[in-house]
């Protein structure tokens, strides 16, 4: 009698598919993206039938906590030369660790750092790569994984045919989940090449959550008439604990700083909540925000195209609606 092969070949034939997750830290601290990547690595390890191992580079605090998100162990290379980012150096180290550990899947976050590494690791490990994935790989019918394409207007499924695979995980796609407990950190010694990039300075805005990481975003456009009217936007954002964003003409006119510009030519974001105020919803704007989980549009023109992409809409004058919304949020917070 034939035995049904319920779980397919991939699971049965490769019992030790190690998933290596490069957990990125900033000034030694892990951010949400790292916890997402480890959670994803853990899920991926379960899908392919293996173990998730986290790798941290450079000085880091409390790397053992990555165990809480599913890393069976944490490896660390704490060489001084890794204190600043040079993709050439980082890729050499990650690839070396991956080779020594026999990793079959290498995962990182789809951040400015991760994106600079995916291609390099693909070459170094002769591994097929898919950047910006939005799903845990499936192993029925080869190793397949999904990612957003055409600025979020479609989803593609790719099959990776090489023995080793490289993936970067799109932000806010995989909720960090505590499935285990802290583990010991194991120092590994691999050669760290000399970098050719000299980082002179890193300038970050302090205080607010950077847009690509923000879960809540309040954004405004040309409908606000001028930079002097942004006070109410900032107030609403502050009450919600949200990060502020803007449309392109607003940044071009210098009403708001360029790093707030979202859309096709600015930053692409995918927060849980995107509130668009006085923004018409041009296709190039939508390209950067239409992957938000929930979209609220406040616009005085009921015909504004943005309403077609919205979950909730308020047809009204921003100058009246926004202060009311801020008040309602205050009340809500007081009651919860």
């Amino acid at each position: 009698m034939p035995i049904p092969k319920k779980f397919g070949m991939a699971r049965g034939s490769n019992p030790q598919q190690m998933v290596l997750v490069f957990a990125e830290s900033v000034n030694g601290k892990f951010k949400k993206a790292a916890f997402e990547a480890v959670t994803y690595g853990y899920e991926t390890a379960r899908a392919v039938g293996g173990e998730c191992v986290a790798l941290v580079l450079g000085p880091s605090e409390n790397a053992g906590q990555l165990g809480e998100y599913g890393a069976a162990k944490v490896l660390s290379v704490s060489d001084e030369k890794l204190a600043q980012f040079d993709s050439q150096v980082y890729a050499a180290v990650i690839a070396e660790v991956a080779k020594r550990q026999g990793a079959k899947v290498v995962v990182m976050s789809h951040t400015s750092t991760g994106r600079s590494l995916v291609g390099r690791l693909s070459v170094r490990l002769n591994a097929g790569a898919v950047s910006g994935v939005v799903s845990v790989p499936s192993v029925n019918g080869g190793f397949t994984v999904k990612k957003g394409v055409f600025s979020g207007k479609a989803i593609a499924t790719y099959r990776i045919k090489s023995d080793v695979k490289v993936l970067s995980l799109m932000g806010n796609e995989c909720r960090p989940e505590k499935t285990g407990s802290a583990v010991a950190v194991e120092e590994v010694s691999v050669p760290v090449p000399e970098g050719r990039i000299k980082v002179l300075e890193v300038k970050r805005q302090e205080g607010t959550v950077p847009l690509p990481e923000a879960e809540l975003v309040v954004s405004a456009g040309r409908g606000l008439k001028g930079p002097e009217n942004w006070g109410m936007i900032e107030e609403l954002a502050k009450e919600l604990g949200a990060t502020t964003a803007c449309s392109r003409p607003v940044a071009d006119a210098g009403w708001r700083p360029h790093h707030e510009h979202v859309g096709q030519t600015g930053i692409a974001i995918r927060p849980n909540l995107y509130i668009a105020i006085g923004i018409s919803g041009a296709i190039q704007h939508l390209a950067g925000v239409n992957n938000s989980k929930v979209i609220v549009v406040i616009n005085k023109d009921p015909e504004a195209p943005f309403f077609k992409a919205a979950d909730y809409g308020v047809v009204g004058d921003a100058f009246e609606v926004v202060p009311k919304l801020t008040e309602a949020v205050k009340k809500f917070k007081a009651a919860h």
């Binding site: 050439q88 693909s122 207007k153 593609a156 030519t265």
Partner: protein, 260 residues
């Protein structure tokens, strides 16, 4: 006296630059698929030069050569239907062009073609856009850099050259990183690196006689294949909330959407 000018020009270090340009559907194109959802439906779609390649990478490269002397070569991997965007790049101011005559199947394939050419020519800087707006890979630049064993500066939003040292600002999450690197290196361009240039009549005329070489691809092993495409689930329609009743909106966001 001859010689003085020559030596001055010499210290300006002429540059040999490569700009990789790709073709993408116009941003407003309707996205649909054919052949059982395995191919992009190009029917009725207008194609353009990828904005990051055209507006930022290409223009900054041209500016550098205008200042220091040298050449800007544009390189595209694609079929003859791409000649139109290549001519545009020449009209904007590139000196010559190379097209690798092949379907750009995926990042891995494209990167190997670019690196193959760059290895023969020893460019000072290879410019790319930060990503193509169709398949949004952001993969090619790092692959090229690794194949060439060169440094890679991604998302450059500002760049100045002094001799053969570049000082660059690159966009990172919530800020910028300022760095220095010597040529040769690979750079991907983000908004801010330059200002878009519109080709003028003279440029368009000149483009017609600029050197344009078509070469055949090098064979590359396939590691990734496209299985299928799908459209994201459609929005169920907007729920309108009374502008006088923002408590209701907050309630919906909390209870129904569960985002606050």
């Amino acid at each position: 006296m001859q010689g003085e000018n020559d030596s001055k020009n010499f210290t300006l270090s002429k540059m040999k630059l490569l700009v990789c340009i790709s073709k993408t559907p116009d941003t407003t194109a309707r996205i649909a698929f054919t052949d059982n959802d395995t191919k992009f439906d190009a029917n009725g779609v207008t194609f353009i030069m990828n904005p990051y390649d055209e507006w930022y990478a290409l223009v900054r490269a041209i500016e550098l050569v205008e200042k220091a002397g040298g050449t800007v070569t544009v390189l595209n991997v694609g079929d003859a239907s791409n000649d139109q965007i290549i001519r545009k790049a020449l009209a904007i101011g590139a000196n010559d062009a190379i097209r690798v005559n092949a379907e750009p199947a995926n990042s891995w394939f494209v990167a190997h073609q670019i690196a193959g050419i760059a290895k023969q020519e020893n460019y000072d800087i290879v410019f790319l856009g930060k990503e193509t707006i169709d398949y949004n890979g952001s993969e090619v630049g790092a692959m090229v850099a690794e194949l060439l064993e060169q440094p890679f500066v991604s998302y450059a939003s500002k760049m100045d050259m002094e001799g053969n040292t570049a000082t660059i600002e690159r966009d990172i999450e919530g800020g910028v990183e300022v760095l220095q690197v010597d040529t040769p290196f690979v750079l991907s361009a983000a908004k801010g690196l330059a200002e878009q240039r519109i080709p003028n009549m003279m440029g368009i005329m000149k483009a017609k006689s600029k050197p344009f070489k078509v070469v055949e691809p090098v064979p590359v092993e396939e590691l990734v294949e496209t299985v299928s495409f799908e459209l994201p689930p459609a929005k169920t329609g907007v729920k309108l909330v009374d502008p006088e009743n923002m408590e209701e909106l907050v309630r919906l966001l909390h209870e129904e959407a569960k985002v606050i």
